[in-house]
Amino acid sequence: MVAAAALAEAPTHATAGAALDIEQVSHAFDIDGAELPVLSDVSISVEPGEFVALLGPSGCGKSTLLRLVAGLDKPRAGSLREDEVRIIRPHPSRVVVFQDPTLFPWRSVWDNVALGLEAQGILKSQRQRVDDALDLVGLSSFRKAYPYQLSGGMAQRVALARALVNDPRILILDEPLGKLDSLTRITMQAELVSLWQRKGFTTLLVTHDAEEALVLANRVIVFSDRPARVKADIRVDRPYPRHRGDPYLADLRRQILGLLGLDATW
């Protein structure tokens, strides 16, 4: 893999982001006694601070891979490492924004965002971080609201704030912008990029939207149908902020859609 060579050259200076190595990972689920292979020999190595977008058909195993990276499940074969340390359980340095916002309905917005700091026992001294995170997603005025009082997009933003407040070294995003309206979505994309540039965390973003992947990521990985295999690993060497109309991106987009089997329509 090209990226592996790149990692060897990468200087190990102290960045906020962590390196992530996914090595020959295969995974399967047992459904009614039958084995359902979901990931097949997936190897990806992500440099510290890289923004990697994962694209693939629905149900191919993207969320499953993210769960493995988070340490919520163990792979059937292969290994995952964060900065050369094997991932065996969840750790707040790798925070996930799940496909569903899964806010805790019994906690107010503020308390939801404070969850990570509270779980790590550092909330008392760091309350300001919660306020900052809420500011960031533009929901300061909803701090006292309960999740049932939020719209779908607002709930998704709270989930994002809940992740960001922990200053993760690897931010794992499972279609976090999927439920937003297109306007908020574009704003949040810009926010995400500037945040990533400022903080330098490594980002793993699953998305259905090739354009979103190209606007945000410096690397796009395309998966095959289930069981997921890495079908293509595309570098996007374009400065930020990127423009949607950029012919270079449009070209890449056509290429990606082709890989996803949509070339006939585009």
Binding site: R67, A70, G71, L72, R89, P90, H91, P92, R94, V95, V96, F98, D100, T102, F104, P105, W106, R107, S108, L115, G116, E118, A119, Q120, Y146, P147, Y148, R162, N166
Partner: protein
């Protein structure tokens, strides 16, 4: 959290158009209040007009009190606009005041005045008032004894039930041992233990406390358990990726998520523990409202029985009101809960 009730809307939202004739408006606004006043005047007069068929000492005072209530209802209705929330409260309850006045009038006439209902079994309102004034110390003692017994047993049962439920829901090992016991013993009505309990426990008080705790504990355990067991894994995943330790998962995820179920269990436990309380007091404990009922029956003092029943129902409904108030405070995050 604001709740919307229809009568609030009618009271405050009705437009006062100047074109409507003022009399029609006034009748619509105050008619029920006036009617309530009339009903209570009727009750008061029914007390004072005819002679009692029996010998009751509070008839006159009751009649006067009814007339006072009628006056208050009338004044409250007329001055409703100036009385603020008290006026609004009176306004929303006026239909009930009418019904109550009519019911009391009929009751008075059917018992004390013409004895249409057989007398010792259907005492008139004034004889129940008589119980409250003349037998107050004994009644209060009984109330105190009942509340003490119920509260002790209920708190013990609820605490143990809650802890057991959380443990079964959380730990497979605890579930393995406790679940069969729960299945075997739980469905047994707590009253079935009565004879054994009164022999084996050192005092009838400890025996009844045990039975009340048992009656409370079973539903609380089962519902807490089912609440903890039904917590979505997604919540645990979120908490774990944010660095939560197992204690955090239990205290800050499992328990709050299970709380709505827990309150259903507490509510059911309250109901079944009332039943045990009364039976235990009737059979073994020489105090409390159950015992008072039993004692009154022994003397064929029917008025005392009705008086005790009324107190009992006020206490039970008060306990449930309190439980629901606590629940509404703790579960503000839930929408669409039943208001008690």
């Amino acid at each position: 959290m604001s709740t919307y009730s229809l009568s609030d809307g009618l009271a405050s939202g009705a437009p006062r158009t100047s074109r409507a004739p003022w009399l029609a408006t006034w009748i619509r606004e105050s008619g029920v209040g006036v009617l309530a006043s009339v009903a209570w005047i009727a009750f008061g007069l029914s007390c004072l007009w005819w002679e009692d068929v029996g010998d009751w000492s509070r008839t006159h005072s009751l009649g006067i009190a009814a007339l006072v209530i009628a006056a208050v209802a009338l004044f409250g209705t007329v001055a409703s606009d100036y009385l603020g929330s008290a006026g609004r409260a009176l306004h929303t309850r006026a239909p009930w005041l009418v019904a109550l006045g009519v019911f009391l009038t009929l009751w008075e006439v059917a018992t004390a005045k013409f004895a249409w209902l057989p007398l010792p079994f259907f005492p008139p309102p004034q004889s129940i008032i008589e119980v409250y004034t003349d037998d107050l110390p004994k009644l209060l003692d009984s109330v105190f004894a009942s509340v003490k017994l119920q509260l002790g047993g209920y708190l013990i049962g609820a605490t143990i039930g809650f802890l057991t439920g959380v443990s079964i829901g959380w730990s497979r090992a605890v579930g393995y041992w406790v679940h069969p016991v729960l299945r075997f013993i739980g469905p047994l009505p707590a009253t079935a233990w009565l004879p054994i309990a009164f022999f084996t426990f050192p005092s009838s008080w400890s025996a009844s406390t045990f039975l009340i705790a048992l009656a409370t504990g079973f539903p609380v355990t089962v519902l807490t358990w089912s609440g903890v067991a039904s917590v979505s894994n997604a919540y645990y995943d979120v908490a774990r990726t944010l660095g939560a330790k197992p204690s955090f998962l239990v205290l800050k995820v499992a328990i709050p998520a299970a709380l709505p179920h827990v309150f259903v269990g507490l509510f059911m436990g309250l109901g079944s523990s009332f039943a045990v309380l009364v039976v235990a007091e009737m059979i073994g404990v020489k105090a409390g409202l159950g015992w008072y009922l039993q004692w009154a029956q022994g003397w064929a003092a029917y008025a005392n029985m009705y008086a005790a029943l009324i107190v009992m129902s006020l206490l039970c409904s008060g306990a449930i009101t309190l439980l629901f108030a606590i629940r509404d405070r703790l579960l503000v995050w839930q929408k669409g809960t039943v208001k008690w």
